[in-house]
């Protein structure tokens, strides 16, 4: 599957209120319905541009603010294959891997909206095929790899009867 970059105009400190507003997350439980409203307060046209398999590209501290799991959940539901950012906020980081959404940290400065991307987690590389760039990904911690392999923390927990990171 081909992956294309999706970038917002805003780059750093995109908080989870912006990912999915409190206006929606308190009253809507259906993830498909929530996914229609992602980033509505900062870019109302964005949600409609997302295609299945896209990679969301952002700057520093993506996902700061509220602990709402509806944020990674609605991004996953919108079709994002992964999120690439310079850094992630702590709670969002856990939440994403817990539900099996891949996050990669790398220097995203030169990736433009629409660029074709290729991810190789094993080799720790993100390739921007449109630019001919090869970016180093910060190694995914062992715990996160394990959760991702098992399909999220619920599946991990059921499979091992608890946490098993060794």
């Amino acid at each position: 599957m081909k992956h294309f970059a999706r970038r917002l105009k805003a780059q750093d400190n995109i908080n989870t209120d912006y990912v999915i507003s409190g206006r929606y997350k308190f009253k809507i439980q259906d993830p498909d319905e929530l996914a229609k409203h992602i980033f509505e307060d900062i870019d109302p046209a964005f949600a409609a541009r997302v295609q299945k398999g896209d990679v969301l590209v952002a700057g520093e501290n993506f996902g700061c603010g509220s602990s709402r799991e509806q944020a990674p959940q609605s991004l996953k539901q919108a079709g994002f294959f992964a999120i690439a950012a310079k850094s992630f906020a702590r709670i969002f980081y856990r939440n994403a891997f817990n539900i099996g959404l891949l996050l990669v940290e790398c220097d995203t400065s030169f990736i433009d909206d629409g660029d074709e991307l290729e991810l190789d987690i094993g080799k720790g590389k993100l390739k921007d095929r449109s630019k001919g760039l090869v970016l180093d990904i910060k190694p995914v911690p062992m715990v996160m790899k394990k959760l991702l392999e098992d399909g999220g923390v619920v599946e991990h927990f059921k499979k091992h009867g608890g946490f098993k990171f060794e």
């Binding site: 209120d17 507003s21 539900i99 946490f163």
Partner: protein
């Protein structure tokens, strides 16, 4: 090498000798969810296939963010929470009880040295009473509800030392906004913060909660303080749990030490649309406001209401301003009522809501119109936070908010020096 508070509490709860950077599974002393996060806690818990809570007394659900329910969608979630509480035979604070971060310490669920998880980012609030408390997502919370455990990466620690006597009209909210301005919204991501200094020691426990509450606004995992005599007294008055105060070692390792002299600090105001976008109040006087809000887990405590009432007493709120007030708990509401504060508010023309989060998160109780400006004692001013992306939110202390409500514009509470 000695240990930080975070290293000690996580070591205590894992049975291992842990240092910053280590990852360990720890036992959690208390956990909870609120009405914005509990629906997914319930779904994830059910997916785990577990039938009961790890300990019925160590999990609560709190309905505070949209309480009472403003629409059918929220009502459905509230009902789901009530049904789940019955099914698991676990505790619940329903509408009218108050904000989760007031209730959890006030009702005695946590004490010094505890390890606490909440499905709400401002769970860091109880750092003020020496608790390692931090926010997680709903599925993480469901794992803890099922097992009593979760995994933790031991954070590095930043030491923050605040010194100097606060000038009249300047409060703990101004101190934390000043720190957030300096460190920035990404400056302590993944880290613990330990707060020290004579300014903190001089503060009441209520005032200290305001500081720990906002630690997450610089990305921190916890914002913790030592348990001094004031904290031990407060904890003894609220909880029957045995406190286990934890101090950092003198030779503990810090990744940074930050010092602030606040003896000449002005009242601070965070401007739209970021919490670290902070100015001195003098630079903003003249910004017209349409709504003022006093309350929340940051500043909805008795002391906050008292400060606002002192400024308001006998004066009408500006005719172009709506002033919304929500006490942080039922007990605070009752005390405020007994002390005549509620009467002061109502006579000044304020709209006093029941205990809860009020309009903080934009689902009800004072949603702004396009182009409107609010000044609030809450902890976030993101675009759209109070329900309308075309409105503007300023954050300040209860004194600055009350002064502004009278003036109809952002006002310096030091103008009311004689009253304070």
């Amino acid at each position: 090498m000695g240990k930080t508070i975070a290293e000690k509490i996580l070591s205590d709860h894992s049975g291992q000798d842990l240092r910053a950077g280590d990852i360990a599974v720890c036992d959690v002393d208390f956990c909870f969810g609120q009405d914005g996060t509990s629906s997914i806690i319930i779904d994830s818990f059910k997916k785990l296939g577990v039938k009961q809570a790890f300990d019925k007394s160590k999990f609560y659900m709190i309905i505070d963010h949209s309480a009472p329910s403003p629409n059918i969608g929220v009502s459905t979630i509230h009902k789901k929470m009530r049904d789940f509480a019955k099914l698991l035979d676990v505790g619940m604070y329903d509408i009218g009880c108050g904000v989760c971060h007031q209730l959890v310490p006030q009702k005695g669920h946590v004490t010094c040295g505890d390890l606490v998880l909440g499905a709400d980012s401002h769970t860091c609030t109880y750092g003020a009473i020496n608790v390692f408390s931090t926010g997680v997502g709903s599925t993480d919370l469901a794992i803890t509800l099922a097992s009593g455990k979760n995994w933790f990466r031991v954070p590095e620690t930043i030491k923050v030392i605040v010194t100097g006597k606060l000038p009249k009209g300047v409060y703990s909210k101004d101190v934390i906004l000043c720190i957030i301005k300096d460190i920035g919204s990404n400056g302590a991501t993944y880290k613990a913060v330990e707060f020290y200094g004579d300014t903190i020691s001089a503060m009441s426990v209520d005032a200290r909660f305001t500081i720990s509450n906002m630690a997450v606004e610089i990305g921190a995992k916890i914002g913790i303080m030592e348990a001094d005599a004031k904290v031990l007294k407060w904890v003894a008055e609220h909880s029957t749990k045995e406190p286990n105060p934890v101090k950092a070692d003198l030779n503990a390792r810090y990744v940074a030490v930050k010092k602030y002299d606040v003896s000449k600090l002005s009242p601070q105001v965070a401007k739209p649309h970021a919490v670290d976008n902070v100015s001195n109040v003098e630079e903003l006087s003249g910004v017209k406001i349409d709504q003022a809000f006093l309350g929340t887990c940051t500043n909805g405590r008795l002391e906050d209401l008292e400060i606002a009432a002192t400024i308001l007493k006998g004066k009408p709120v500006h005719p172009d301003v709506r002033f919304v007030i929500a006490p942080a708990s039922k007990e605070i509401f009752l005390q405020a009522s007994k002390k005549g504060l509620v009467e002061t508010f109502v006579k000044s023309g304020c709209s006093v809501l029941g205990p809860g989060c009020g309009p903080c998160v934009g689902t009800h109780n004072g949603v702004l119109a396009d182009g409107e400006v609010a000044i609030s004692t809450a902890n976030r001013n993101f675009k759209g936070r109070m329900g309308n992306p075309n409105s503007f939110i300023y954050l300040a202390s209860p004194a600055t908010v009350a002064a502004s409500a009278l003036a109809g514009r952002i006002a310096d509470p030091r103008e009311f020096k004689k009253r304070l």
